[in-house]
């Protein structure tokens, strides 16, 4: 926990620095008609830096052997996280619907060990339903890939 706390606070402290840097660039003063664009971000950033510094101080003094996440906890978390990231990466090239089909199918087979029939049914029907709801029904275009182009959508 202690290490994670230190790392998080440090990252947030850096964020504060970035905010302050940007704010100074656009003006942090109090103009004739109220604060300039950078006024609030500047003080928000400064406060963030101060608060994070204090949290760093607290955490550094604390003795805490409890790990942020145990090995047996990290496994399932990653099993959710990395396929989700893969979904986003695939969406870039294959479009959302095909990626969703691959992702759902893979996940059902890998984690749930569902029968191939169930896998196939859900992996086809779910993206198809999403397609109809969004593209046809609500007319919200989603990222599309080669398959949709081939089908003339």
């Amino acid at each position: 926990m202690r290490v994670a706390d230190l790392v998080t606070a440090s990252v947030l402290l850096l964020v504060g620095g970035v905010v302050v840097f940007d704010a100074v660039g656009i003006g942090i003063g109090w103009g004739t008609d109220g604060p300039k664009s950078g006024f609030f971000p500047f003080w928000l950033g400064m406060l963030l830096i101060a608060a994070c510094a204090l949290i760093l101080g607290q955490a550094a003094r604390r003795v805490d052997a409890k790990p942020f996440v145990r090995r047996e906890q990290l496994g399932p978390v990653l099993k959710v996280l990395w396929p989700a990231v893969a979904l986003v990466v695939l969406t870039l090239s294959l479009g959302l619907y095909v990626s969703a089909a691959l992702y759902t199918g893979f996940y059902m087979r890998w984690i749930g060990r569902h029968s191939w029939l169930a896998v196939l049914a859900v992996a086809v029907l779910f993206p198809l339903a999403t397609f109809f709801i969004f593209e046809k029904w609500f007319l919200v275009p989603m990222p599309k890939g080669p398959l949709e182009a081939w089908l003339g959508q």
């Binding site: 109809f132 593209e135 046809k136 029904w137 007319l139 919200v140 275009p141 003339g152």
Partner: protein, 322 residues
């Protein structure tokens, strides 16, 4: 059950009869609005989409998509990135010029393919009806007597409303306090609530409050009076103040860079058909928009002139990116 019926209903409405032409859309057309939902540009985009639907003017639906980030920069840059795409359109307002000039984003209207100008929007100087100012002259005299104490409300910063305010200030030697709001409707309500003293709203944004006797139009920022019956008694700025301050806002349609020629031609024809429908004409009349359809060289020339105009206006107003 209702779900199914609704789906059938929607699908039925979406499907439109095709017409045999050289080029026509083969998939849904994405219609980008570089502004939020509910504003003037958004309204017109949805109106066009609706008219296309109602009169079956397009074989594929127009899907309106709002990309309002960064005063429209998000929408412009998105369309700029879709080189050669024949299924994307963008409707513009004055932020076509003002946003790149003020924020310095890498965009110019020349990055897009001009298709057609649908209308020009008017601007009017409004005051609250409870104030004693019956004519623009009286109001301006009051502002002159007490500089930096009268509040002018407008939409956004470094956009058309502020440009117009600065023009007025410079032509007459005045000084307003300019208060920026998020949208035109909000501006007019703040005038009704006397939180600001005057506004330069588009006619449609204040029309209903005017009819209800809450606000009073003093002058039109154009070279001639508005040709619609109920608006034609409002004098122009030149008539009432003797200085020629005028400004019109573009409601035009563009396509992505190097859009195929056939596609441009189809869209010009399509938009002309939309323009000629009674629905569109009624909308123009009610909003006191200036009917001014133009395409091709005429449109390009107008845009070029206006780009220069905005550059000059923003330079004199100190609104260019430093």
């Amino acid at each position: 059950m209702a779900l199914k019926t609704a789906l059938a209903l929607v699908l039925m409405l979406v499907a439109a009869a095709p017409a045999g032409a050289a080029w026509e859309p083969t998939k849904p057309i994405e219609f980008v609005v570089p502004a939020g939902t509910g504003g003037g540009a958004d309204q017109m985009a949805r109106l066009i989409s609706g008219i296309a639907e109602k009169h079956k003017l397009s074989p594929r639906p127009l899907i309106v998509v709002n990309k309002s980030g960064g005063a429209g920069a998000e929408g412009f840059l998105d369309v700029k990135g879709k080189k050669g795409d024949a299924h994307t359109l963008i409707i513009t307002l004055s932020n076509l010029f003002t946003t790149p000039l003020h924020t310095g984003i890498p965009f110019n209207w020349r990055d897009l393919t001009p298709i057609a100008r649908m209308a020009l929007d008017q601007f009017i100087l409004w005051v609250n009806a409870e104030t004693p100012y019956k004519a623009a002259k009286e109001y301006i005299a009051a502002v002159k007597a007490k500089p930096t104490s009268f509040k002018m409300g407008g939409t956004g910063s470094a956009q058309e409303d502020q440009i117009l305010t600065i023009q007025l200030e410079q032509a007459l030697g005045l000084k307003f306090i300019y208060v920026p709001f998020k949208g035109g409707g909000e501006v007019c309500v703040n005038l009704v609530g006397t939180h600001v003293d005057s506004t330069v709203n588009n006619p449609i944004e204040c029309a209903s409050h005017w009819k209800a006797g809450r606000v009073r139009p003093l002058a039109v920022f154009d070279t001639a009076r508005i040709a619609v019956a109920e608006w034609k008694d409002i004098p122009t700025v030149k008539e009432s103040l003797g200085v020629d301050v005028h400004y019109l806002m573009l409601r035009g349609i563009f396509g992505p860079p190097s859009m195929p020629k056939d596609a441009v031609d189809w869209y010009v024809g399509f938009l002309k058909k939309v323009y000629d429908t009674p629905d569109f004409q009624k909308y123009l009349g009610e909003g006191a928009l200036k009917p001014s359809f133009a395409a091709g060289a005429e449109y390009v020339k107008w845009v070029e002139e206006n780009e220069q105009l905005h550059k000059d206006l923003m330079a004199t107003g100190g609104l260019l990116k430093k």
